[in-house]
Amino acid sequence: MRQNRKPKETDIPKVYTSRHKKSERVLKAIFIVSYVLLAVWILKILIMDSVEMQVNAYNPRLSAIEARFYRGRILDRAGRSLAIQEDDIREYPYGAALGPVTGYSGPSKDGLEDVMNSYLLSPASAEDQAKYWLTNEKLAGCDIDTTVNAELSYAAYQGMGDYKGAVIITEADTGELLALVSNPFYNPNSVFDNWDSLRQDEDQPFFNRATMGIYPPGSTFKLLTSLAWHRSSRYDPDYTYTCEGYEEFDGYGMRCFHGEIHGELTISDALAHSCNTFFSTLAVKMGRDSLIQIMDDMGFGQKIPFVLPTAVSEYGLGEDSNLEELAATGIGQGKIEMTPLLLNRITCAIANGGWVRDYMLVEDIRNADGSIRENMEHGRREPVMNSEEASWLTEMMEGVCEYGTADIMSYMDTQVYGKTGTAENATETDHTWFTGFFEAGSGHRVAVTVLLEESGGQYHAVYLARDLIEWILTYGY
């Protein structure tokens, strides 16, 4: 007979318990979260950080990309080479004169060499693009066409001589920069040979004075004081003022330049002769807010849109400014500081009848065979003042060049409209300014801004501006 016993507990093989442990779920969740976090972090690096990493100066891969390319050329508006690759050497035929534009290229970079690096090292045609991916051939990068005139820039650089300073020449209605010069500047051909001495040089040759320098604008600021007056509710076209060569504001004595006494003046005459007491009185009359408003409208406190780095101009006026500071600001002294680039931009606005375009330095990017790869558009027209204000200022600037402080301009073949400036600064010797525009014969008006640091007498900047205007009238651009 069959024994019908129940199987004992131990006889039954078991695999699973019926117990779920909480720790199993917790640990599993921890692992899954950790791994997913790792994976997401990798994607984060790729999406958010990788461009920054690729151009990091410490990334050794940069030079590997460079080794695959004949770096593209940088050309001026007439097709002259500003930077060209000769085997392994990058040559800059115009040296320091075009340094602020080209910058340099090597272990570190500056200027357009830095900003346009990705184009200069980019395959210059569809065929090259294919070769880049499929072969290891050495390829030519794209060329950069700039708007500058190399010869004009060189003339400006030479004309500055030993003076530190900046020259900016612009085709006013298009915003195309014809010259952007800063002196002293490093010679990009030898920047790495003289690295240490350049770095330690007190004159700061790495500093682009035209775009990064901020200076007291001196009498050139009277253009803005005039405009503020024109806009103010107290504006009176027949307003006159009698200059006695001296005026006191809250105990702060203001003198006219060279101790001159101008007598009874309209605003046109005051601007032409650059009468300090007139404009200080005007500033005090209008009050702080009018000046701040006009500076706001003209672009103080804002970054000028530009392909190269720019500094921001400073108002120098605030809530707690006293009368003395207000009077000083009216003639471009006090704490106000502006870049030559901004002054040039305002000059362009006057020349254009009230509007400006953003500056253009890079005109287009071309493939090695000369075809255009990318054409840069001119900037938008941006209104800064109305045409009536612009023509009023133009008329007054004509006076400056006809019988005023820049009357040497009256001997030129073309009408020049301008304003001079002498700016007291931390050093003993004044900076001199000239900003103005003229009909260049090309159907365009050209704006010229010259700053010569510590050049003393009133006329150095004007002389250089006159030479450059003459150069343009003779040779074109």
Binding site: P13, V15, K21, I32, L38, I42, D49, Y58, P60, R61
Partner: protein, 458 residues
């Protein structure tokens, strides 16, 4: 033409690894899967691994062809593939019931490791494959030994003893050329004994935690881990201390089921980290460069910065095998190998590698769930924890998610002892899979017999 092949290859590599992943996750995560579907997924994974190897080998061969290293290449890869085939054969024939998906993950990761290692440092690759072959053999022996029930009866102090012998070995046979205190040199054979402690420690903790609710087990385990840590501290092997402590912490949490242990443990690790930050110079450097590598990029931050540069250079699809510049990363063949993989095979590939490790962890976790035998369940838990912690530490380190700790990436990094111990750990896991499926079969047979008996009666 050759260049074109490389360029196209990088997309194919990504394709292979994605196929591999999709098959793996499908096989593991689908609620109901037939044996046939599971086998098909596994076979497709193997096929993808095969294609990856063929293609990678073709590119390597193109680079070495005509050079003096061709014979070395053939010999190295001959040994490597012989070892991998032996591994595959033993898993499918000798240890039937082991997890196929896990086997495939190991094959894929080891393949990536060998291929990358040859590209980075052929001499290291040559040594690595020898260790790998040894690892496969030792693993097989170990798996047969482990089948004996008597293994479960070995008392904890045997494991503790072995651990201490291993950890003090470097003091007895110091290896002067390696410069670090945790290497052993016995008649020219150098190895890192602390790596071998990992499986031993898992066994010890599992043995201690067989009996439920005993505070003495926790204290004993804690004392052993603390003792080992002190010796390792002298040897300056902080990465290993971190791994051991985390292993002990998580297994203790699992033993006690008390969340506060987890929280207290994390607090203790952070506290110890602070202490180390203030008292151990190179920990401070590691943490500072983790917070901001760019500040001190020329010294302390160099390694992590170069790692990030490499990962960024690869973007999503990589520069192509042999097309990147991973040499700038210090220790790229060991700790930092993951960055080189990202650079040349692409970020998507790196992403997929992380996912393979996740797949492995999930596969091992299927063992843990509701496993009857407490000892074996804890072993599986320990192995899963160990591989995951180590992987997360080093990958998190090279991508600057965590401070960099000098531990190896399992299966991929160069490191002989590391390979050996990883294979042993995987041997444990596969043996657990085998024994469980055997028991499952017994259950089925038993149930069938019962049913037959009942049917016979009625």
């Amino acid at each position: 033409m050759a260049s074109l092949f490389v360029k196209v290859s990088k997309y194919l590599f990504i394709l292979y690894i994605l196929i591999f992943l999709v098959c793996g996750f499908t096989a593991i995560l689908r609620r109901k899967i037939t044996v046939r579907e599971y086998t098909a997924a596994s076979n497709l994974q193997r096929f993808a691994t095969l294609l990856f190897n063929l293609q990678a080998f073709a590119i390597i061969y193109m680079h070495e062809a005509g050079g003096e290293k061709v014979m070395l290449l053939l010999r190295t890869f001959g040994i490597a593939y012989a070892a991998l085939l032996l591994f595959l054969f033993s898993m499918s024939k000798l240890h039937t019931g082991s997890s196929k998906i896990l086997t495939n993950c190991i094959l894929m990761l080891v393949s990536i490791g060998i291929v990358m290692l040859w590209r980075l440092r052929p001499a290291s690759c040559q040594r690595q494959v020898l260790w790998m072959a040894l690892g496969v053999v030792v693993m097989n022996i170990f798996m047969y030994v482990f089948r004996g029930k008597w293994v479960e009866k070995i008392p904890w102090w045997v494991y503790a003893g072995i651990s201490f012998v291993l950890v003090v070995l470097p003091f007895i046979f110091p290896s002067p050329e390696n410069g670090s205190l945790n290497w052993v040199d016995i008649r020219g054979i150098t190895f890192q004994p602390s790596e071998l402690i990992k499986p031993v420690l898992i066994f010890m903790i599992a043995t201690l935690y067989v009996k439920s609710h005993r505070i003495s087990s926790i204290l004993t385990g804690g004392a052993v881990v603390a003792g080992l840590s002190v010796v390792l501290l002298v040897q300056n092997d902080l990465g290993m201390i971190l791994i051991f402590c985390t292993l002990f912490l998580l297994m203790t949490y699992d033993y006690t089921q008390r969340e506060w242990i987890l929280i207290a443990g994390v607090a203790a690790v952070i506290g110890a980290g602070f202490a180390a930050y203030h008292f151990v110079g190179h920990v401070q450097v590691r943490v500072d460069t983790w917070l901001n590598p760019w500040q001190d990029i020329e010294n302390g931050g160099y390694q992590i910065a170069q790692s990030l540069f490499a990962i960024s250079a690869g973007r999503f699809f990589g520069t192509g095998f042999y097309q990147g510049m991973p040499y700038y990363i210090p220790a790229v063949w060991t700790d930092m190998i993951f960055s080189a993989i990202c650079e040349e095979f692409g970020g998507i590939f790196g992403f997929a590698v992380v996912m393979i490790y996740l797949l492995m962890a999930i596969v091992i976790f299927t063992l843990v769930n509701r496993y009857e035998n407490r000892f074996r369940r804890d072993l599986a838990m320990g192995c899963s924890i160990l591989v995951s912690v180590q992987t997360c530490l080093i990958i998190g380190g090279v991508i600057k998610l965590l401070p960099l700790t000098g531990v190896t990436l399992p299966f991929i990094s160069y490191g002989g002892t590391s390979v050996l111990s990883t294979f042993i750990i995987m041997g444990i896991v596969q043996e657990l899979f085998r024994s469980r499926s055997q028991t499952e079969r017994q259950v089925r047979d038993y149930a069938a017999k019962q049913k037959a008996e009942r049917d016979g009666h009625t």
